[in-house]
């Protein structure tokens, strides 16, 4: 760890509040008529979190539902922005928050690879270079020429995961999606993640399958009610977590 302590993600004193509005005013009339009446309360999903992610680390974010793990991941991707504090990232970052976001059901698997990879910021040339790898990894065979709406949910997930994992990002953020496909495909996903780890890619995973994470990750961060409860060696933190929440 000491040899390669280049920070790729810096989270500095980050807090995130979500507005909880009952009867959200969305039209002008409602805004004018009820301008001081709407009950606004805030839910503080993250409370003053500070942490660094170093290059080449594989980190698991663990915690019970609603503890703020996914919010943290979304903040790192810059889909949402912190209420206060700052997040700095370095290098190409790809997030897998939901598989197949942006898939178009009427287009074929192959066409969707182009469209989806474009959302991840790849150029046509880069996609051409990778398309065979993506198709092979997905094991879809001839179904790749069929419209995505005809896919089973497993096939859909396999295609989406294959695209995302072949984007060749420096930082990969993954949210609860490792339960993809059958046993065979899951093992393949983990093997691919191990391979990326060896290439010194930075990986942050949110997951509840603690056993598989324990093998893959070096470090785990336990988040509880919007705060970092524990941060350290994966085995230690996960055991601690299991003692309290298991």
């Amino acid at each position: 760890m000491i040899a390669q302590s280049e920070k790729v993600i810096e989270v500095k004193n980050v807090s995130k509040k979500f507005k909880l509005v009952y009867d959200k005013p969305s039209t002008l009339k409602e805004r004018i008529v009820f301008w001081n009446k709407s009950k606004v309360s805030y839910h503080e999903a993250l409370k003053d979190i500070t942490l660094d992610v170093n290059k080449g680390e594989t980190i698991a974010l663990i915690g019970v539902n609603g503890s703020g793990k996914s919010t943290l991941l979304k903040l790192m991707t810059k889909i949402i922005y912190p209420t206060s504090g700052k997040i700095i990232t370095k290098g190409k970052l790809t997030s897998l928050l939901e598989l197949g976001a942006g898939f178009h059901p009427d287009f074929t698997g192959r066409e969707n690879i182009y469209f989806n990879a474009a959302i991840f910021g790849l150029s046509a040339k880069e996609i051409d270079e990778r398309i065979e790898d993506i198709i092979n990894f997905s094991e879809l065979g001839e179904f790749i020429e069929a419209p995505v709406r005809t896919y089973s949910s497993g096939m859909y997930m396999r295609l989406a995961f294959s695209i995302a994992i072949n984007v060749n990002a420096d930082i990969l953020l993954i949210d609860e999606i490792l339960a993809v496909g059958d046993q065979h495909f899951q093992e393949k996903c983990f093997a691919k993640l191990q391979e990326l780890k060896k290439q010194h890619k930075t990986i942050v995973i949110v997951s509840h399958s603690l056993d598989s994470i324990k093998d893959l990750c070096d470090r785990a961060i336990w988040i509880s009610e919007g705060k970092v409860e524990a941060d350290g060696k994966a085995k230690k933190v996960i055991d601690e977590y299991l003692k309290v929440c298991g």
């Binding site: 922005y81 928050l97 976001a101 942006g102 990879a117 790849l122």
Partner: protein, 255 residues
């Protein structure tokens, strides 16, 4: 910012393609509709105005077409652009990409459509005995100004529409009025003198008059008008972009 858009150029390209093809997907004539539509509109006005309202403008058909086609570029782009952020809620919530791509691809697809539609104008000019002149070389310049102006509007409106949904309906009404406050159907001289200043303030009248100058009158567009246009367009773009940048951070939570 520009660098980021360059990195995501493939996304921009696929989005522009989707924007052009997607709208008429499934219809028999497909993309052709984007050219047939303004032509049908021209047909209606070409019957109504000379014969019923007795407007006597030389080369009225060409006069009309040169007004309608840039106007169609303007309003279809505003209408599609205004809702583009909302329509893409699904990917905005799940994936990071430069949000500017969305309004940009709508206006770019409008521009491409417009250039293709210019062929229709040319056909009417050639067969109507008006011919063409070297002034046509200014077409890209005027189109670029219109592009800048429209992009600024779309930046602002697409972002505001996420927070205040009335924007869509309000803008519809304003566009409807603007259609009659622009010399599209009738020449500026028919406008009551007291209200004629509206035409000079309205950037779209300046733009359409500029197109008429190069297509129909074979002259240079009015220099003062063009300077005014450039200033207004750049200001609108700067202001619209500022609004978009300010509001875009909340898109994923608000849509």
């Amino acid at each position: 910012m520009l660098r980021e858009i360059y990195n995501y150029r493939e996304l921009l390209k696929t989005n522009v393609k989707k924007e052009i093809r997607g709208k008429y997907k499934g219809s028999f004539l497909g993309v052709l509709w984007s050219f047939v539509n303004p032509l049908l509109q021209v047909l209606v006005y070409a019957i109504v105005f000379p014969y019923i309202m007795r407007i006597q403008t030389p080369n009225y058909l060409q006069y009309l077409i040169i007004g309608i086609i840039p106007w169609t570029f303007f309003i279809t782009t505003i209408n599609q652009g205004m809702i583009t952020v909302r329509m893409n809620a699904g990917i905005i919530k799940k994936v990071y990409f430069p949000r500017e791509i969305l309004p940009l691809s709508v206006v770019l697809s409008g521009l491409i459509n417009f250039f293709i539609s210019c062929i229709i104008i040319l056909i009417f000019c050639l067969f109507g005995g008006i011919g063409v002149s070297a002034h046509l070389l200014l077409l890209p310049v005027i189109a670029l100004i219109q592009f800048v102006f429209t992009l600024g509007m779309v930046f602002a409106l697409s972002a505001i529409n996420i927070y205040i949904k009335d924007t869509e309906y309000l803008v519809q009404f304003i566009l409807n009025m603007a259609f009659y406050a622009t010399p599209i159907l009738y020449p500026a001289t028919l406008f009551p003198e007291r209200f004629r200043w509206i035409l000079f303030v309205n950037p779209m009248s300046e733009i359409i008059e500029a197109y008429r100058a190069i297509f129909l009158y074979h002259t240079f567009p009015d220099v003062n008008g063009m300077i005014y246009l450039v200033i207004v367009s750049v200001l609108v773009l700067a202001f619209g972009y500022m609004i978009f940048e300010k509001l875009k951070k909340g898109f994923a939570e608000e849509v």
